[in-house]
Amino acid sequence: MRKDYHILLVEDNKIEQQIFLQYMNYQKVPYKFTVASSVQEAKKEIEVHLFDAVVTDYYLGDGIALDIFDFVKDVPIIVITGAGDEETAISAIKAGAYDYFVKTSNKNHLKLLPLTIDKAIGKSEAEHKIKILSSALMSIYDSVVLMDLNRNVFYVNSSFEKMFGFSSEDMIGNNLDNIWVKGELKKFTELISSDQSKNEGEFQNIRKDGSSLTTSVSVSTIKDRLNNLVAVVCIIRDITESVKSREKLVNYSEGLELLVEDRTKKLEEARKFATIGETAAMVGHDLRNPLQVIINNIYLAKMKMSPDFAHKLKKPLNEEILGSLEKIDEQVEYMNKIVSDLQDYSKNVNLDIRKTDFKKLLEYIVSTLQVPSNIDIKIKNFSGLPDFYIDSGSFKRVMTNLISNSIQAMIDGGKIEIAGGIDDKFYYINLTDEGGGIPEKFLAKLFTPLQTSKAKGLGLGLAVCKKLIDAHSGFINITNNHSGVSVNIKIPLRKELI
C-alpha cells in the first residue's frame, strides 16, 4: 500500500475536528488529512483534490452525509453517527457507505478508524484493479472466456461476442459446446481436462451465423490457495487469415521448390546435351580424319589391284598393298587411342599409389611405343633419384600420351629428352621435343577437354594427362621452347600429400 493516502474529514464541530486530528497524530497514522466543516466545503475540496477516502459525520451544518455521496465517486466513505442512531447508519450503508462508526464519549471509535480506513482503501483499490483488468479483458483482440468447474461460462469479453456473434447473455450460464465444428468439441474437452496448467491447440470453429473460422485456443486454469480448481480461462485467437497466408506460403514455397526442381532438371538436361554435343563434335572431328585416311587407302588398294593401273605402280603390287594396309593399321590404332582417351577422361580416377621406380617405368613405356627410326628418345638424370609414390597406371597413360604427341609432331625426326629431378618437396619430370612447338592460340586451351582443335594429339590426350596429374595433387604445364615444346610435371614427394 502507498503511504501518502489523502483523507478528507468532514466534521462541522471544530472540537471534534481537533480531537480527531490530535488522535490521529498521536497514533502516528501516516495519512494526510484535509478537513471540511460543511457539505459545501467538502464539495469544494473534492473538486480540487483526489481523496483516497472520506470520513464524514452524519449530521453536518448545511446537510447530511448522504449529500456528499452525490459528488463522491469511487472513493470509500466512512460515516460516523451519534449514539442510538443505527437506522441512520443503515441508510448510509444502503446509500453506498463503506462502513459506519458510532461516536462514543470515550472516543473509542477513533481507535478502530485507521484500520477501517486501510481496509476501505484496500477494497477500493482492489475494485479499481478489477475494473482495469475487466476493461483490459474487454478491449483485447483475443476472445476471453471464463468457465467454472462445470464448464459453465460466467464471463465472455466483447471480442468473443464479435468473433462468434454470440452475446454475453447467450453465453453466460451455458457451456461452450456450440462454437465447435464437429469433432472439435472432443478435442477441446481433452484440452481442458489435461493436467497441464496451460494447453494450446488449433481448432475449427463455427459462428452463430454458421460461418467458420480457424482459431488457436489456449486454456489455463485458475486455482485457489488450496490448489482447488476455481476457473478455466480460454483465450481464443482468430487465426483464419494467418492460416490462409501460411497455407498460401506453404503452397507457394512448394510451388517454388517444384519450379526450381523443374528448372534444375531442364538445366542439367541442357548441360548434358551440350556435353554430349561437344563430345560428339570432338569425336566426330577426330575420328573422321583417320576414317578418311582408311577409306582412301582401301580405295587405293582396290585400284592398285586392278590391271588398269598396273602400269602406274611405283613398287611391286604386294608392297603397295602392304603399304596401304599399314596405313590403315596406324589409323585404326590412332582411332582406338581417341576412344581410350575419351573413356579415360570420363571415368573416375582410382589411384593405386605405390612406390615406383620411375626410370624403369619410363623404359618400359618407351619399349611399348613404335618409335620411328629417325627419333631418338633419351632418358636422363633419373639414376640416383629415390623411388616415389605414384599410380603407375596413370603415369603410363600420361607419359605415353606425351611421348606420342611428340613423336607425331616430329615428322622430320629429332630428339625427345625426358629428365628427372627432385627437391625437398617435389619430384620433377621434364620432357622436351623438337617438334616445332604448339601454335600460340592452342597453348591457353591445351588442357581444356573437347577443344576441337585441328592439330593431332590436342583433343583429349592432354586433358586426360592433366586429370591424372591433378589426381596426384601434381602440376603440369607446357611451354614452347626454341625447337619444340617443354612439358614440366611435378608431383609431391610425400605420399600423404597426394
Binding site: L287, R288, K312, I411
Partner: protein, 148 residues
C-alpha cells in the same frame, strides 16, 4: 586431262598424302599445303584448277583461304572438305563462293566425281567466255568492215 593441277590443303599429313595418291592415280597433278598461309602462297605462284581445302587449319580457317582464292584467282574451283560438320561453316563456305562442301570421310569415288563435275563446269564457263570473246571480236570486225 593433261596439266590439271589440284592443291590439297589439310594439316593432317596422312590425309594429304593419301588424297594425293588417289588423285595421282586418277591422273591429276597434285601439290600439298599443311597450313592456310602456305596454301595462299602456293596459289599466288601457281594456277591450280582445283583446291581441296580443309576448314580447321592450324593457322587460319579454310574459309579465309577460300576468300583469298576468290580475290586472287576466282577461276579456281574450291572444294571445302571438313570433319567438323557445321551448318554455319557450310553456309559461309558457299556464300564465299565454294564450289562444293564435302564432309569427311568422303569416298574417293565420290570425291573424284565431284572433281570431274567441277572441272567440267570450269571448262564450260571458260569456253563460254572464249565464245563471248570471239563473238565480240567478230562484232568489232563486222563493224570495221561496215565502216569501210
Amino acid at each position: 586431262m593433261d596439266n590439271i593441277k589440284i592443291l590439297v590443303v589439310d594439316d593432317d599429313k596422312m590425309i594429304v598424302q593419301s588424297i594425293q595418291e588417289v588423285l595421282e592415280l586418277a591422273g591429276y597433278d597434285t601439290a600439298a599445303a599443311y597450313t592456310g598461309k602456305d596454301a595462299i602462297e602456293l596459289i599466288k605462284d601457281e594456277d591450280y584448277n582445283i583446291v581441296l581445302c580443309d576448314i580447321m587449319l592450324p593457322d587460319i580457317l579454310g574459309t579465309e583461304v577460300l576468300a583469298n582464292i576468290q580475290k586472287l584467282k576466282p577461276r579456281i574451283k574450291v572444294i571445302m572438305i571438313t570433319g567438323f560438320a557445321s551448318l554455319d561453316n557450310a553456309v559461309l563456305s558457299l556464300n564465299l563462293g565454294a564450289s562444293a562442301y564435302i564432309l569427311k570421310p568422303v569416298n574417293p569415288d565420290n570425291l573424284l566425281k565431284v572433281i570431274t563435275n567441277k572441272l567440267h563446269e570450269q571448262d564450260k564457263t571458260e569456253r563460254l567466255n572464249e565464245d563471248r570473246v570471239s563473238e565480240w571480236i567478230e562484232d568489232r570486225l563486222n563493224n570495221l568492215e561496215d565502216k569501210e
